[in-house]
């Protein structure tokens, strides 16, 4: 099945919310997942991994990256505050017992150097221990608009949708009759 970009983003946001994440984190992770999907990464599977990761662990990863970002934020105008890295870390099964990430800044304007460049952002498919910045543009930059749909298999969709459904209120007669502010039938 192919999802539109907005359908995929909505699926990400709803399922992550269903898992109990804060709205702002759902928003950031959804945008990051879409960026990964558009650049040929198996974003639905990464999302599923995120959903199968304990929330506290995800927040812990957030804090690691955010803390490192903060260390350099005065040099990069704070623009490096990007959860795409977190998803990258999840997708390579990073062991949280390992030492903190090493973040270094060469000079501005920066891009991350690794396998994937998305605008000014990047992460590697490989195991990441070090994040570094440099000024050189990477040759294999992939444009965001290259891919327009997100392929997802039925099994993965079903597994993700389980979490989405947790955001919908159960239907009751009271809700059905009063919640929308209109009668059920319309024949004027």
């Amino acid at each position: 099945m192919n999802l539109s970009k907005s359908e995929f983003t909505s699926l990400c946001k709803r399922s992550l919310r269903g898992k109990g994440h804060h709205w702002g984190i759902c928003e950031d992770l959804s945008n990051a997942l879409l960026a990964l999907a558009l650049n040929g990464f198996p974003a639905p599977n990464i999302l599923l991994e995120a959903l199968n990761t304990e929330n506290s662990k995800l927040i812990q990863i957030f804090n690691i990256v955010d803390a490192k970002a903060y260390e350099t934020s005065n040099k990069i105008n704070g623009t490096f505050y990007d959860p795409i890295l977190i998803l990258g870390l999840i997708s390579v099964h990073r062991d949280l017992k390992m030492p903190s990430l090493e973040v270094s800044l060469d000079n501005e304007p920066f891009i991350l150097v690794d396998d994937l460049i998305i605008g000014d952002r990047s992460y590697s498919r490989k195991k990441i221990n070090t994040i570094s910045f440099c000024t050189e543009k990477h040759n294999n930059t992939i444009k965001d608009d290259f891919v327009t749909r997100v392929a997802i298999d039925e099994t993965t969709l079903k597994a993700i949708d389980y979490w989405s459904k947790l955001t919908y209120a159960p239907s009751t007669e009271q809700s059905r009759n009063l919640g929308a502010g209109s009668e059920i039938s319309d024949n004027d």
């Binding site: 192919n2 999802l3 539109s4 970009k5 907005s6 359908e7 983003t9 804060h22 709205w23 702002g24 984190i25 928003e27 950031d28 945008n31 927040i59 957030f62 804090n63 955010d66 803390a67 970002a69 903060y70 934020s73 005065n74 105008n77 704070g78 623009t79 505050y81 990007d82 608009d145 327009t148 749909r149 459904k165 955001t167 919908y168 209120a169 159960p170 239907s171 009751t172 009271q174 809700s175 059905r176 009063l178 919640g179 929308a180 502010g181 209109s182 009668e183 059920i184 039938s185 319309d186 024949n187 004027d188």
Partner: protein
């Protein structure tokens, strides 16, 4: 009418109306369509670029079900409305999202569909949310008949008679849409994939095009029904009646979250309108022809107001006030000295002191009407290419952030959030066809758990309380590491700091909030009029009523229809 506009914008500095005035729900809920409304922009483009309209297929049977295809051909592209007519029983007809059958269903196809395309869509479009469309489709829509008017007009035409004009006016449309989905919904193409096409550069142009073509289909279907009923005696609907008929729309809460979820876009819409008003208020000596046209529109607008009916208590009260104020406005304009300096500024300032918000906003729309050459360019800035992707600036210092929050959200920080009345409602989505709903969190058990983030005022207040415990020289990044629950509202605040009209400056979960104010604000930008609430969270409106049909649309009539001529008599 087109005017040659050679007035310069004067040095006179008319400041934009402040957000704390414009962005209140009561004012947003008093907005009227204007020449910067999206359907107006669409009709100007179609006529300027001379798009060619044709009916490609009309395979509708004697039972009035079947398929039709209408195409607009423009330079290098074509867009086709594929319409499916259905036969349904009265008890199956519902305007709610939870409906599963409709009188007609539609999709806007990118190009001219092949038989294979139509066959694929025949198995999906009639199912709407339960079906699936593809990247070749831009919108998905459906409409229900106004049964009373439909049967009446079909009977008249089949007996060789034209309908009574009063009956047509009472309803104003033969069918009303109950949803026009776009931008990637149910598999359709994402807006970002087509937003670089000039014809879709302004928001909601594909949706407006869909509705405009639906209007043509509905008239054809109506006449077909009359012909089938009495092939020997039937007559075509008089063209003046065809033009009088718009397309209705029945809208519920699904539309309200959009404005809250798209702050940057909302800012761009309101900014365009406010800049337009300021440009005209800043004219020292507006062209005589523009003044005459304005006076003409003032008179002609009476017909629109007279034919606007609503039985709903809220709207009936507003209409009474509008009618009273319109008499005062007419008298004032009649005697007003347009040779004075900055006449439209004087007129607006008088209105602000004298009239209610409904009449003030009507006046704003009327002021914009004659000045197309001065303001139409503002429509180019109404989109938002970067929506949804704003990243948080983590390096902003807490002190600066707090100061800006207190400036932009002063109204929210004054609210007593411990008072249950100020916190009574919760926006949620039902599992029943994902229908958006609004409930009382203290009475409907469990709905708070499903609450959507549609209460920025309360969330800002909560965030501000936590932020007040932090030192000014700490960064927002540090704050968010400790308080990830505020991440969404921090991002929102940073958007609002740079976009003054991005936030609705009211409490969206208060016991006395009127959700239809949100709906009306959006619908006015679509170009709707004759707002007729069915409740405080449900409204019916009319679109394209009085507009030329595709066959007659041209540069002369593309704008000069919203205030019908007959009212000037």
């Amino acid at each position: 009418m087109t005017l040659n506009f050679d007035d310069k914008i004067s040095e006179f500095d008319v400041t934009l109306r402040p957000p704390e005035k414009v962005m209140r729900l009561s004012r947003l809920g008093s907005f009227h369509q204007s020449r910067l409304s999206f359907l107006r922009i669409l009709l100007r483009r179609i006529s300027a670029e001379k798009w060619k309209f044709s009916r490609k297929i009309f395979e509708i049977g004697d039972d009035c079900s079947g398929t039709a295809v209408y195409t607009y051909q423009l330079s290098g592209r074509a867009y086709s409305l594929i319409a499916f007519a259905h036969k349904i029983s009265d008890d199956e007809r519902s305007d709610r999202v939870i409906a599963t059958k409709w009188d007609s269903t539609f999709t806007l196809f990118d190009g001219i569909p092949s038989k294979k395309d139509i066959n694929r869509l025949k198995h999906n479009v009639p199912n709407q949310e339960a079906g699936r469309v593809s990247e070749k489709e831009i919108t998905l829509s459906r409409a229900n008949k106004s049964v009373r008017l439909w049967d009446y007009v079909v009977n008249c035409l089949s007996n060789g008679q034209q309908p009574d004009i009063q009956e047509i006016e009472k309803v104003g449309y033969m069918m009303r849409t109950t949803a026009v989905y776009g931008s990637g919904k149910f598999g359709a193409v994402d807006y970002t994939e087509i937003s670089n096409r000039p014809e879709f550069g302004t928001p909601f142009q594909a949706e407006m095009l869909t509705v405009y073509m639906i209007r043509a289909f509905v008239i054809d279907l109506l006449q077909h029904a009359a012909k089938v009923k009495n092939p020997n005696k039937y007559v075509q609907l008089d063209s003046k009646f065809c033009e009088m008929l718009g397309v209705g729309n029945s809208t519920g809460l699904g539309m309200a979250p959009f404005l809250i979820n798209h702050p940057q876009l909302l800012n761009n819409w309101i900014s365009a309108k406010e800049k337009a008003l300021a440009r005209i208020r800043g004219l020292n000596e507006p062209k005589k022809a523009c003044i005459e046209l304005f006076k003409n529109y003032i008179k002609r607008s009476n017909y629109l107001i007279e034919s606007w009916n609503s039985k709903h208590e809220l709207q009936a009260l507003k209409l009474d006030g509008l009618r009273r104020d319109k008499i005062i406005l007419d008298n004032y304009v009649e005697k007003f000295n347009f040779n004075s300096s900055y006449p439209f500024n004087t007129l607006y300032e008088w209105a602000e002191q004298t009239l209610g918000e409904e009449a003030q906003e009507l006046l704003v729309s009327l002021i914009l009407e004659p000045f197309g050459e001065l303001i139409d360019d503002l429509s180019h800035g109404m989109s938002d290419a970067k929506q949804f992707t704003t990243k948080i600036n983590g390096s902003m210092l807490v002190g600066e952030f707090r100061k800006k929050t207190e400036k932009h959200y002063a109204y929210a920080l004054k609210i007593n959030w411990n008072n249950s009345k100020n916190n009574e409602l919760a926006w949620y989505v039902s599992e029943e066809k994902l229908e958006p709903r609004l409930g009382n969190r203290f009475k409907e058990e469990g709905i708070e758990f499903y609450e959507q983030p549609l209460q920025p005022s309360r969330d800002v207040a909560r965030m501000h309380l936590d932020l007040s415990k932090w030192e000014n020289n700490k960064s927002i990044a540090e704050f968010l590491m400790k308080h990830p629950e505020h991440r969404h509202i921090i991002r929102r605040c940073q958007i609002i700091f740079n976009n003054p009209y991005a936030e609705i400056q009211d409490n969206t979960i208060s016991s006395d909030v009127i959700p239809i104010d949100l709906l009306r604000a959006k619908l006015s930008f679509f170009g709707a009029f004759h707002f007729d609430p069915r409740s405080d969270r449900w409204v019916r409106i009319n679109m394209f009523k009085g507009a030329p049909l595709p066959q007659t649309l041209d540069n002369e009539n593309c704008d000069n229809w919203t205030y019908p001529e007959q009212s000037a008599t």
